[in-house]
């Protein structure tokens, strides 16, 4: 799409340089740990070495003798204020600090308040805790067996470890399709527990000002407004009212979903500040971050796919066991305990589908958040894309040809999926064709055949994903009752410059630039003249925050709507200034002209000045608007990825040789930023496909609790991504945009896994769970007769 505005205006379609960069490249960003207040105290946390144990005794005497240590806070202390438990976003409960027992290794046990970071750490090391170990439940399957130790003994009537059962779709119709199917494939797929591991960990500075009775919290949060409301609801009984709470989310060093939940450390810091009247800083270290903060995924899936002999897909059936740790602290819309997992029919036109998920408690950290994806969408995409490949191979069809045959066709949009979603727009054939042309698919298949003849293992994997993002329509989408709208409040100053504030919060996505471009597009005011602010609940309009790729679909739409409201008023002022009727005016970005007399015009800057100096009698002065945008539907970005891998038969190492990603996120705001989002997303797709996993031994000891053994890809492992796009606008979004920040994370793992299985299919390999480590591949090769 050619930009409609000039580069000077910098509306949609321009690769504008980012407004946030000048401070970041000088080291002048302000992240939470950069804030230092006079008299600030530091908090450090004592954590449990056991995965399940009774707390017999906490002895603080040695800690209190450490110079600089002021207090040791325990669950008993918080219990006096009824703050030792807190609600999760899924209406479960989790401990702030324990009174009776700990439920996972690295759980918070006590907190030490001191005058310096070092004294707090010394104090934490000196707290002596006596534990009485309890039986540990690590495997969610075993957790649900009769006779398993019941973990949530705090819940009076709880007699097992089952959290909830949820199902969706037409069970009977699905069973009928399976009964009549020519070909069926079935596969167990485990999508392991991983961690977003943003390079900045989590933390806060809580400052309770006793004189003004006001609590200010600088906090690593993706959703400052919702956090404020949660704090007011949870701590209202100790006198914290919402107008006396200010949450400031300053520059955030990556979020990816991990900075949505409320962690115990935040709550303890707030309690410590309220009690002492001093600012209290809590910054977790990397091991605390990996071992205790919300995890993602951990889905044990059994999937079945049915087809006719000619390759036409008919039905999908999925059963899943979700390991939630000791509390369901997922961050999903309230009505959807398994998130939007039921987008699992993917890009395919199926007759019927049925999906069921059961949640289980285990002795692991709570969570179930997203890892740079909309709620459980990666789990859905990985499942359907692995199953599609399995079916194609089973039928002896080329996986690309098989997909082309079963895709929802362009003319079927808006398309109602077998599980009830209304896909807004798509051209799946176009994206896959472009990916195949870009990578030279036919030639690669010939190369693969040659290599196979010589005993070399090369694989080609496709993933043609459909995402579901931009939550969401208020009819179905809320978090703790808060509807999932988002907002923009724009004010144009007399000299034509402007400020716009939003309910979202960038964590690197570049909102200061892209929102300004949307407003520039709609009003013709240069993007450089528009100041964008987010993350301060005292100034920004209410919104649900940035996650699940919702900023562009929801707040971006709010920006367009607010700008259009301003344009409506500007038209009235222009008519007044030009002494014509409103209908006689026409708009082009930046000015109103009299129809047929293009010389007679008023720029938006002229109009802004008049709004304060010469507005029509009877009209209010000023030029500003606010929009709380309630999206009519979700958006459905899509794409096709093709990956080529070579496998070293001696070591089992998988090398990604090429990776082509064709994305379609509708109309593009800033091509440079969109490409950057895809690069980053692909790397966070590669990471769990080949490297990242947090597992536990039978005693609940965490494996993968530091960067020593939780492997983030470096520049050496990361391939040189090849990207491109098609453009299929969303029909219901004011700008035709869809959101792009997570597409690649969602789509990439299946392409890589499919390529690896494709390389070994002729040997008899049918599946390999991610992360596909050299050890797993080596073992598979040996099992299938490859010995060198």
């Amino acid at each position: 799409m050619e930009p409609r505005t000039s580069p000077e205006v910098g509306g949609m379609g321009h690769s504008l340089k980012r407004k946030e960069d000048p401070r970041f490249i000088r080291g002048k960003g302000t992240y939470v740990d950069d804030v230092q207040l006079p008299g600030m105290l530091y908090l450090d946390i004592v954590r449990s070495p056991y995965a399940h144990a009774k707390i017999v005794k906490i002895d603080s005497s040695k800690a209190l003798a450490v110079p600089g240590v002021l207090a040791v806070i325990t669950g008993q202390d918080l219990a006096r204020y009824n703050l030792h438990w807190m609600p999760t976003l899924m209406s479960d409960t989790q401990m702030v600090l324990p009174v009776e027992k700990v439920m996972y290794q690295a759980q918070e046990v006590a907190a030490v308040l001191a005058t310096s970071r070092y004294a707090a750490a010394d104090g934490a090391a000196a707290v002596q805790v006596e534990y009485d170990p309890l039986p540990v439940v690590v495997d969610p399957h075993k957790a649900l067996e009769p006779g398993a130790p019941v973990l949530r003994t705090d819940k009076k009537d709880k007699k097992d470890n089952h959290i909830w059962h949820w199902e969706w779709g037409d069970r009977a119709a699905t069973e009928r399709e399976f009964a009549g199917a020519d070909v069926k494939v079935k596969q167990d797929i485990y999508i392991p527990r991983i961690h977003v591991a943003s390079i900045e960990t989590c933390g806060c500075i809580a400052h309770f000002d006793k004189v003004n009775d006001k609590l200010t919290v600088w906090m690593t949060t993706q959703a400052p407004h919702a956090i404020r409301t949660v704090f007011a609801l949870v701590a209202g009984h100790v006198g914290l009212a919402e107008h006396k709470i200010r949450i400031i989310s300053p520059d955030i060093g990556g979020g990816f979903g991990g900075k949505v939940p409320v962690y115990p450390g935040y709550v303890i810091a707030v309690a410590a500040s309220v009690l002492t009247g001093k600012p209290v800083k809590w910054i977790e270290d990397r091991m605390e971050n990996l071992q205790a903060d919300s995890f993602a995924r951990d889905y044990h899936i059994t999937a079945e796919l049915a087809a006719k002999r000619d390759g036409t897909l008919t039905a999908l059936r999925i059963k899943t066991l979700a390991d939630h740790g000791y509390a369901d602290a997922a961050a999903n819309p309230s009505k959807f305990p398994a998130g939007l997992f039921h987008v699992c029919t993917g890009s395919y036109d199926l007759k019927a589908a049925h999906v069921e998920v059961d949640g289980a408690y285990t002795n692991k950290p709570p969570g179930g958040i997203a890892y740079r994806c909309s709620f459980r969408v990666t789990e859905a995409v990985h499942t359907i894309e692995r199953m599609a490949d399995l079916m194609a191979h089973e039928l002896g069809m080329d996986p690309a040809e098989f997909r082309m045959k079963n895709f929802v066709k362009p003319e079927q949009f808006p398309y109602k999926s077998a599980l009830g979603w209304e896909y807004d727009s798509g051209n799946y054939h176009g994206a896959l064709r472009k990916a195949m042309d870009t990578i030279g698919y036919a030639e690669l298949r010939r190369e693969q055949a040659d290599k196979r003849a010589r005993g070399q293992l090369m694989g080609i994997g496709i993933s043609s994903f459909t995402e579901i993002v931009g939550a969401g329509p208020s009819k179905h989408f809320d978090i703790l009752g808060l509807k999932m709208f988002d907002s923009c409040e724009m004010r144009i100053h007399p000299t034509g410059k402007a400020i716009a504030r939003f309910g979202t919060k960038s964590q690197g996505q570049g909102h200061e630039t892209t929102y300004a471009q949307i407003l520039a597009e709609e009003l013709g005011i240069p993007a450089k003249d528009i100041q964008v602010e987010e993350g301060d609940t005292d100034t920004a309009p209410y919104g649900l925050g940035t996650y699940a790729s919702r900023s562009t679909p929801v707040a971006g739409a709010a920006a367009a709507v607010a700008a259009r409201k301003i344009r409506d008023k500007a038209r009235k002022i222009a008519a007044h200034l030009l002494e014509v009727a409103e209908e006689d005016l026409e708009w082009e970005p930046g000015k109103f002209s009299v129809k047929g007399a293009p010389g007679k015009s008023k720029t938006i800057q002229d109009i802004a000045f008049a709004a304060y100096t010469n507005h029509p009698q009877g009209m209010e002065a000023g030029l500003e608007a606010v929009s709380y945008y309630d999206p009519p539907n979700l958006t459905y970005p899509f794409g096709s990825y093709i990956c080529v891998v070579d496998i070293d038969t001696g070591t089992g190492e998988v090398k990604v040789r090429r990776f082509v990603a064709i994305d379609d996120c509708g109309n593009i705001i800033n091509p440079m930023i969109v490409q950057g989002q895809v690069h980053g997303g692909l790397t966070m797709g590669l990471a769990p496909a080949l490297y990242e996993e947090i597992s536990y031994d039978e005693n609940g000891n965490v494996q993968g609790g530091s960067f020593i053994d939780y492997l983030l890809p470096t520049a050496v492992e990361t391939p040189k991504w090849e990207t491109g796009h098609t453009v299929t606008p969303s029909p219901h979004h004011p700008l035709g945009a869809k959101g792009v920040g997570e597409s690649a994370t969602v789509g990439a793992p299946a392409a890589i896994a499919n390529a690896v299985v494709d390389a070994m299919w002729h040997l008899g390999v049918r599946h390999v769970d991610i992360p596909i480590t050299p050890a797993k591949v080596w073992k598979l090769l040996r099992q299938h007769g490859v010995t060198d």
């Binding site: 960069d21 970041f24 000088r26 080291g27 591991a197 060093g253 692909l682 520049a715 040189k720």
Partner: protein, 156 residues
């Protein structure tokens, strides 16, 4: 213990505990908060600064080890209100997103280009492999270093 050191050309003296980490001296005593902390195990490189021209991970160096040394942090890249070409290149090539790993990347890249002014892509990837980035996928960071190399060589 008393330490004397030069940071970005300015002399500083401080009384520090022997165990104080260099990164905390820089961030908390000298208030140079551009140097970030991202892990405890020297893996992420967000805390990279130059000590006598060599990149070091300042979370794994004691402040007292910097006694008598010349340090350079991200705040020292801009000279006389003029950005270093590497800083310009990170902006023009979109080599940063959240900005948290950026100071460490810049310092590693700066030291690398002094040693290797005409690097290949593989050279650059190896050079920055001690610095983790979660946002960019590295492609544009590599481009930014290449672009800066060309600018410094007078070719762009």
């Amino acid at each position: 213990m008393r330490v004397q050191l030069s940071v970005n050309g300015e002399k500083h003296e401080a009384d520090v505990e022997p165990r104080l980490l260099l990164v905390h001296l820089l961030r908390e005593n000298l208030r140079l908060t551009g140097t970030h902390i991202g892990c405890d195990t020297s893996h992420c490189g967000a805390c990279t600064v130059l000590m006598d021209g060599r990149p070091v991970k300042s979370c794994t160096v004691f402040a007292v080890q910097a006694n008598g040394r010349q340090l350079m942090t991200v705040e020292g890249l801009e000279q006389d209100d003029k950005l270093h070409p590497l800083q310009e290149s990170f902006m023009s090539q979109h080599g940063l997103q959240c900005g948290y790993c950026t100071p460490g990347m810049l310092m590693t890249g700066y030291a690398f280009l002094q040693k290797n002014p005409k690097p290949t892509e593989d050279d650059i990837r190896a050079a920055i492999s001690g610095n983790l980035c979660r946002c960019t996928g590295y492609v544009n960071i590599v481009k930014a270093v290449q672009h800066a190399a060309a600018t410094l060589a007078g070719g762009a």
